[in-house]
C-alpha cells in the first residue's frame, strides 16, 4: 500500500474518533500534533517480542501496520504475559518487550547486573482499568477506598469495615441484600499487580476474588451475574456490562473517558510500555528504530485507539521521539 494513502486512512479514522467522542478537544490536539510516519528505505531484518498478554492485540496491529511499510521485515509476537517480558529482556531472547506495567525494582536490578545499564522504557499508549458491573446494576459509582474494602483482605487504604453486600454501596431493593461477587485476574497478569498497587494500597487480595485468565473472561463473567463486580482493561468494554465511574475519594465520580485518562484524572490509568535493551551510546537496529517511530507516529497512535486504548498526549510523544532521534 502506498504510504500517502495510508496516512489518509489514519486521518479519516482520527476524524471519526473526533466526531464520536463527547468532548472532542483533547483528542483533537493530541492527534493533530503527532506527525505521520515517513517511510525509510532499506529496512530489512526481523523483530521478535515476548511479553504482555494485554498488549498482544496492540502489538499485532502495530506489526501489521509496520509490515505495510516494510513487508520484508519478519515480526514475531509471543504474548505469555508481562511477567515473562523482563526475563526475555534479561536473557536476551528479545530486545523489545511490551509490558503493561513498569518494571519492578528487582527486575531492573537484575537487568542492570546482567547488562551494566538500565533497560529503556518507552510509554506507547494509555490504558485504564475499568470497574465493570452487570448492565442492570444500579450502583452509582465507587471510590478507591470502597474498592479496597471490597477486593482486599487488608484494607490498607483506610476503610474500617469490609464491604461484602451491595447495600453497603448504596444499592436498595433485593440486590442490596446480595453478597458482592468479585472477579479479578490471575497473578501473572499486569492488571493484577497494577490493581494491587493502586486500588489495594499494595495490600493483599481477598481470598474471595475469583481469578480469571484475562480481561475478556472477567467481562464475560460479570455480564452473567447481576451481583458481580470486576476490574478489567477498558479496551474490553461492551454492551453486556456497565462501566462504573470511579472516584479517588468521596463521590466525585469520573468516567474513564479518553479526556479523563489523558489528563490523569481517572485514578486507575496506566501507561503501556515498550521496554528496550538499548546499550547507551549505540544506535538501535534499524527495524527496531523504525518500529518505535511507527508506534509513536500518527498511524501508530490511530492503531492504539482502534484497539480500544487511549493515545498518548502529543507532548509525551514528542519527548519520546526526541529521545529516539537524539540517541539514534
Amino acid at each position: 500500500m502506498h504510504p500517502v494513502k495510508h496516512t489518509r486512512l489514519a486521518l479519516s479514522l482520527g476524524l471519526l474518533l473526533l466526531a464520536t467522542s463527547a468532548s472532542a478537544r483533547a483528542p483533537a490536539t493530541a492527534a493533530g500534533a503527532v506527525p505521520p510516519y515517513q517511510r525509510v528505505a532499506g529496512i530489512v531484518g526481523s523483530l521478535s517480542t515476548v511479553g504482555s498478554a494485554t498488549m498482544a492485540n496492540l502489538m499485532l496491529l502495530w506489526s501489521q501496520a509496520f509490515n505495510r511499510f516494510y513487508p520484508q521485515v519478519n515480526i514475531q509476537i509471543q504474548p505469555p504475559g508481562s511477567a515473562s517480558a523482563p526475563l526475555a529482556l534479561i536473557e536476551g531472547s528479545a530486545r523489545l518487550v511490551p509490558m503493561g506495567r513498569p518494571m519492578g525494582e528487582h527486575e531492573r536490578r537484575v537487568f542492570q547486573q546482567r547488562h551494566g545499564y538500565p533497560p529503556t522504557a518507552i510509554p506507547v499508549a494509555l490504558d485504564a482499568l475499568a470497574i465493570f458491573v452487570h448492565r442492570d446494576n444500579p450502583v452509582a459509582g465507587v471510590n478507591l477506598e470502597q474498592l479496597d474494602a471490597l477486593f482486599s483482605a487488608t484494607r490498607r487504604c483506610g476503610g474500617n469495615t469490609r464491604l461484602d453486600h451491595w447495600r453497603q454501596l448504596g444499592v436498595a431493593g433485593p440486590l442490596g441484600g446480595q453478597p458482592v461477587l468479585l472477579f479479578g485476574h490471575t497473578a501473572v497478569s499486569d492488571s493484577h499487580g497494577f490493581f494491587r498497587d493502586r486500588a489495594l494500597c499494595r495490600g493483599d487480595f481477598s481470598s474471595r476474588v475469583n481469578e480469571l485468565p484475562g480481561s475478556a473472561a472477567v467481562v464475560q463473567a460479570v455480564a452473567a451475574a447481576i451481583d458481580a463486580i470486576g476490574y478489567a482493561s477498558i479496551s474490553h468494554r461492551d454492551a453486556s456490562v456497565r462501566v462504573l465511574p470511579l472516584a479517588a475519594r468521596g463521590r466525585e465520580y469520573i468516567a474513564p473517558e479518553p479526556e479523563a485518562l489523558s489528563d490523569g484524572r481517572y485514578p486507575l490509568t496506566r501507561p503501556l510500555y515498550l521496554y528496550l535493551n538499548w546499550p547507551p551510546g549505540q544506535p538501535l537496529s534499524p527495524p527496531l528504530r523504525e518500529f518505535l517511530r511507527l508506534v509513536l507516529s500518527q498511524e501508530g497512535q490511530a492503531v492504539v485507539s482502534r484497539a480500544g486504548y487511549i493515545p498518548l498526549p502529543s507532548q509525551t510523544i514528542a519527548r519520546q521521539l526526541r529521545m529516539l532521534s537524539n540517541a539514534g
Binding site: 440486590l175 499486569d190 493484577h192 452473567a224
Partner: protein, 737 residues
C-alpha cells in the same frame, strides 16, 4: 510364548529348519528384553520424577547459616561510630562518626574510599539521628539544631560514586529556640516529615524537598504523652507516631485529624531496650531487658478503631536486644543483644532460624545489605563481614500448615497469596486452602459420580440383558474419551450460567428423580402380570426411560412455582439475602457435575468389571435356595465385589484429585476454606497451572509449587497403589471360587 509349528505346506531342509528355530529364539529373547526394558523404564522414570521433585523441594529445608567472609577488616575504623550502612547493593560501606565525619569504604576490604566532614558548628557533635529513608539522615546536633543529609550514588564504571546533598541547605536548622531533644523523620512523596520533642512537647514539621526551603511548610503541636519519650518512630503514610516511654510504656499518637488524643500502652513489664519498626513500617519490634522479643501491629478493635496489639513472641535472646537489621525481601531480621549474641528470625514465625554467639562481645553497630545478605558488624572499631544464608527463610512448617497472623489482617488465617508480578508485596504460602480445595472438589465430584456410576454398574452387570450390556458398556466407556478441557469449556460457558438461573430446578431434580424412580418401580411391581410380561427379562428399563425426561420436564415449572411461593421468586437471591449463603457463579456444584461426568466412565467400568467378575454360580445358588434377586445382590454379589468397588472408588478419587483443566476453568480459583457447595475453591493442580509461568526459577514460590506437585504426586501415588493392592487381593481371593 506359543510354539509355532512350521507351516505344513513348506517342507524345509534341516539346516533351513534350524535357522528358523534359531530366529524364533532370537525374536523371543528380543521381545522379553524389550518388555523388561519397558517395565524398568517406567519404574525408572517414576523414580526420576520423584527424585527431580525432591531435588527442587529439598532446598526449602536447608537451615539458615551465617558464614564469615572477613573476620577483621583492615584498616580499623576511625572515630566513634553512630551509624553504619551498606549501600548500593552492598558495594559501598557508609559510616558516620559522632564527630560528624561521613566515611565511605569498601565493604570487603575496609579500604577507605572517601571521607566527608559534615558542616557542623565548632565543637559540635552529633547526639542522635533519624533515618528518614531514601538515604536521608536527619542529624540532631549537640546544640539542639537539626541537619538533614542525603547521600546518593551515581553508577559508573569502577563502582558507585557517592555524592552528599543537603536538601534543606548546609546550615543546621533551629526548629525550636530551646533545642530539640529527640526526633524522628520520614520521607514520603518528596516531603520530609519531622517530629521533634523539646521542652516537654511534641511538634510536627513538614518540609517540601522539591523546593528546598529551610522554613517548614507546616508546623504544629501534637498531643504529648505524660512522659519524656526516649525514642520516637513514625509509621508510614504519616498515620501515627510511636513514642517509647519508661517502664515498658509505648505512646500512640495519631497524626491525622485534630482533637484526637494519644493512648499509652503498657507493652512490657520491663524496660524496653529495642524499639524499631520492621521494613514496610507496619510492625513494631520490641525487645525488653529480660531478652524477650515481640512483634506488634495495629488491628481493628470492637469500636471501629484500631489498637496496637502484641501479635507474637519470638524466641528470647539471652540478654536485652539492642540492635536490629532487617531485609524486606523475605521479611527476615537479625537481632543482636547487648553481649553480642545474634539471632535470625523470620517475621511470621516465632522460632529463631539461627542463633550464634558472635565472638568478641558487645557490637557497636550493625548493617545489613538486603540484596546480598551481607552483614557488617563493628566491634571496638573493627569491622567484620558475614553472609547470611537463608534463601527460603520465610518458609517454615508453621507457615505452610498453620494459621498465621499476617500484617494488616484482622486475625490469624490460612492465606495463599503469591506475590504479584513486579510487586514487592510479601507473599503468603499456606498450603491448607489448596489441599482443602483439592479435597473439596474431589469430594463433591465423588458425591455426584458414585451413586450414578455404581448404580449403573450394578444394573448393567447384574440386571441388564446381556445383549444390552455389550452395547451400553462401551458407550459409557467412550465418555472417557471426551477431553477434560471440553468438559471444562462446556461447564464454564453453559452449565454455570444455566445453574445460576435454574438452581431450584436442579436441586429439585436431585431429590425428585430417585423418588420418582422408586415410585415407578413400586408401581411396575403392582401392574398386572399380563402387562409386565409384554417386555422380555432385562428390558423393563425402557418405560423408565420415559419417566426420567417426564420428571425433568415437570421439575422446571414446579421449581419456578416453588421459588415464587417459598423463596421470593429466586432461590439464589433468597439464599444470599435470607440465609446468608453466598452463591458464586463458579462453584463446587458446577465442578462436582463437570468432574463427576469426567470420572463416571472410570468408576463405572471398574465397578462393572468387579461385579461381573463375581462367579454367576454364587448368585444362582442363592436364588435357587430361595433368595430374592435383591437379597442375592446385597448379601452375595456386593460383598464379593466390594474390594473391587472400593478400588474403583479410590482410582476415581485419584483421578478427581489430579484433574486440572476442569477445576481451572470452572472454579474462580479462590483459595478459600469454606465447605459451601455454592462457592469455589483453588486446587493444587490448578494452582500449579496458574502460577508456574509467573514464578522466578529458584525462588521460594517456585520451590513451593514443586512442593505442591510432590504432594499431588504422593497423593495420587498412594491412592492408586492402595487401589491396585486391593484389586490384587480380590483376584487372589476369587481364584479359588
Amino acid at each position: 510364548m506359543q510354539v509355532e509349528a512350521p507351516p505344513p505346506g513348506h517342507r524345509r531342509s534341516p539346516p533351513l529348519h534350524n535357522r528358523w528355530l534359531q530366529l524364533r529364539r532370537y525374536k523371543d529373547r528380543l521381545a522379553t528384553l524389550l518388555i523388561m526394558l519397558g517395565g524398568l523404564g517406567v519404574i525408572l522414570s517414576l523414580l526420576l520424577l520423584l527424585f527431580y521433585l525432591l531435588y527442587q523441594v529439598v532446598p526449602l529445608l536447608a537451615p539458615a547459616r551465617i558464614v564469615p567472609l572477613e573476620h577483621s577488616l583492615q584498616p580499623p575504623f576511625q572515630g566513634q561510630v553512630l551509624y553504619l550502612a551498606l549501600d548500593a547493593e552492598g558495594q559501598m560501606g557508609v559510616r558516620l562518626t559522632r564527630a560528624g565525619e561521613l566515611q565511605f569504604f569498601h565493604p570487603t576490604t575496609g579500604a577507605l574510599r572517601r571521607r566527608h566532614p559534615l558542616p557542623l558548628p565548632d565543637d559540635g557533635r552529633i547526639v542522635d539521628l533519624a533515618d528518614a529513608g531514601e538515604g536521608l539522615l536527619v542529624l540532631l546536633l549537640s546544640d539542639g539544631t537539626v541537619l538533614p543529609v542525603q547521600r546518593r550514588y551515581t553508577g559508573a564504571d569502577g563502582g558507585p560514586q557517592p555524592t552528599i546533598h543537603y536538601p534543606l541547605g548546609n546550615q543546621p536548622l533551629r526548629l525550636d529556640p530551646s533545642g530539640v531533644d529527640r526526633l524522628t523523620a520520614t520521607v514520603e512523596q518528596q516531603q520530609l516529615l519531622l517530629v521533634s520533642f523539646q521542652a516537654g512537647r511534641l511538634r510536627q514539621f513538614r518540609f517540601d524537598l522539591r523546593r528546598p526551603d529551610p522554613l517548614p511548610q507546616q508546623a504544629f503541636n501534637l498531643p504529648t504523652p505524660g512522659f519524656e519519650p526516649r525514642k520516637l518512630l513514625l509509621m508510614p503514610h504519616a498515620s501515627r507516631l510511636l513514642a517509647l516511654g519508661p517502664e515498658g510504656r509505648v505512646g500512640v499518637i495519631p497524626l491525622h485529624g485534630a482533637g484526637e488524643s494519644y493512648e499509652v500502652i503498657r507493652a512490657s513489664q520491663e524496660e524496653i531496650s529495642l524499639f524499631e519498626l520492621l521494613p514496610g513500617g507496619r510492625s513494631l519490634l520490641l525487645g525488653d531487658r529480660s531478652g524477650a522479643l515481640s512483634q506488634w501491629f495495629f488491628t481493628p478493635d470492637r469500636y471501629d478503631g484500631t489498637r496496637l496489639r502484641e501479635i507474637r513472641q519470638y524466641d528470647p535472646l539471652p540478654g536485652p536486644p539492642t540492635l536490629l537489621a532487617a531485609r524486606s525481601e523475605d521479611n527476615s531480621f537479625v537481632v543482636l543483644d547487648r553481649a553480642g549474641a545474634l539471632a535470625l528470625y523470620s517475621l511470621n514465625s516465632s522460632r529463631a532460624l539461627l542463633r550464634s554467639e558472635a565472638p568478641g562481645g558487645k557490637v557497636d553497630a550493625l548493617a545489613l545489605s538486603p540484596p546480598s545478605g551481607e552483614l557488617l558488624l563493628e566491634r571496638d572499631r573493627r569491622g567484620s563481614l558475614w553472609r547470611l544464608q537463608a534463601p527460603h527463610s520465610e518458609i517454615t512448617l508453621d507457615s505452610l500448615w498453620r494459621r498465621i497472623w499476617y500484617e494488616d489482617y484482622d486475625q490469624p488465617a490460612y492465606i495463599w497469596q503469591p506475590a504479584s508480578a513486579g510487586s514487592d508485596t510479601q507473599a503468603k504460602y499456606s498450603l491448607a486452602p489448596l489441599v482443602f480445595g483439592t479435597l473439596k472438589a474431589a469430594l463433591y465430584a465423588m458425591l455426584l459420580a458414585t451413586p450414578l456410576a455404581i448404580g449403573g454398574a450394578i444394573y448393567t452387570a447384574y440386571c441388564m440383558a446381556p445383549g444390552w450390556r455389550r452395547r451400553i458398556k462401551p458407550i459409557i466407556e467412550l465418555m472417557a474419551a471426551i477431553p477434560s478441557v471440553v468438559l471444562g469449556l462446556i461447564a464454564a460457558l453453559w452449565l454455570a450460567p444455566f445453574l445460576l438461573t435454574h438452581l431450584a430446578a436442579i436441586l429439585l431434580l436431585i431429590v425428585l428423580l430417585p423418588i420418582s424412580i422408586l415410585l415407578f418401580a413400586f408401581g411396575w411391581e403392582r401392574m398386572p402380570q399380563r402387562l409386565r410380561f409384554l417386555l422380555p427379562e432385562g428390558w423393563h428399563v425402557i418405560p423408565l426411560l420415559g419417566v426420567i425426561p417426564l420428571v425433568t420436564w415437570l421439575a422446571f415449572p414446579l421449581a419456578q412455582w416453588l421459588e415464587a411461593w417459598l423463596f421470593d421468586g429466586q432461590l439464589v437471591l433468597w439464599l444470599g439475602h435470607q440465609v446468608g449463603i453466598r452463591y458464586e457463579l463458579r462453584n463446587a456444584l458446577v465442578v462436582g457435575i463437570a468432574m463427576g461426568f469426567a470420572i463416571i466412565p472410570t468408576l463405572f467400568s471398574l465397578t462393572e468389571e468387579a461385579i461381573h467378575a463375581v462367579p454367576r454360580h454364587l448368585s444362582n445358588g442363592a436364588l435357587a435356595l430361595g433368595a430374592t434377586p435383591w437379597q442375592a445382590l446385597i448379601w452375595m454379589i456386593l460383598p464379593a465385589a466390594s474390594a473391587g468397588i472400593f478400588s474403583a472408588l479410590m482410582i476415581g478419587f485419584g483421578r478427581a484429585i489430579g484433574e486440572t483443566m476442569i477445576v481451572l476453568m470452572v472454579t474462580g480459583n479462590t483459595p478459600i476454606m469454606e465447605f459451601n457447595l455454592f462457592e469455589g475453591m483453588r486446587t493444587l493442580a490448578a494452582n500449579i497451572a496458574i502460577e508456574m509461568p509467573q514464578s522466578t526459577v529458584g525462588s521460594s514460590h517456585y520451590r513451593i509449587l514443586f512442593l505442591t506437585a510432590l504432594l499431588l504426586f504422593l497423593f495420587t501415588l498412594v491412592i492408586n497403589t492402595l487401589a491396585e493392592l486391593i484389586r490384587q487381593q480380590l483376584r487372589r481371593r476369587y481364584r479359588a471360587l
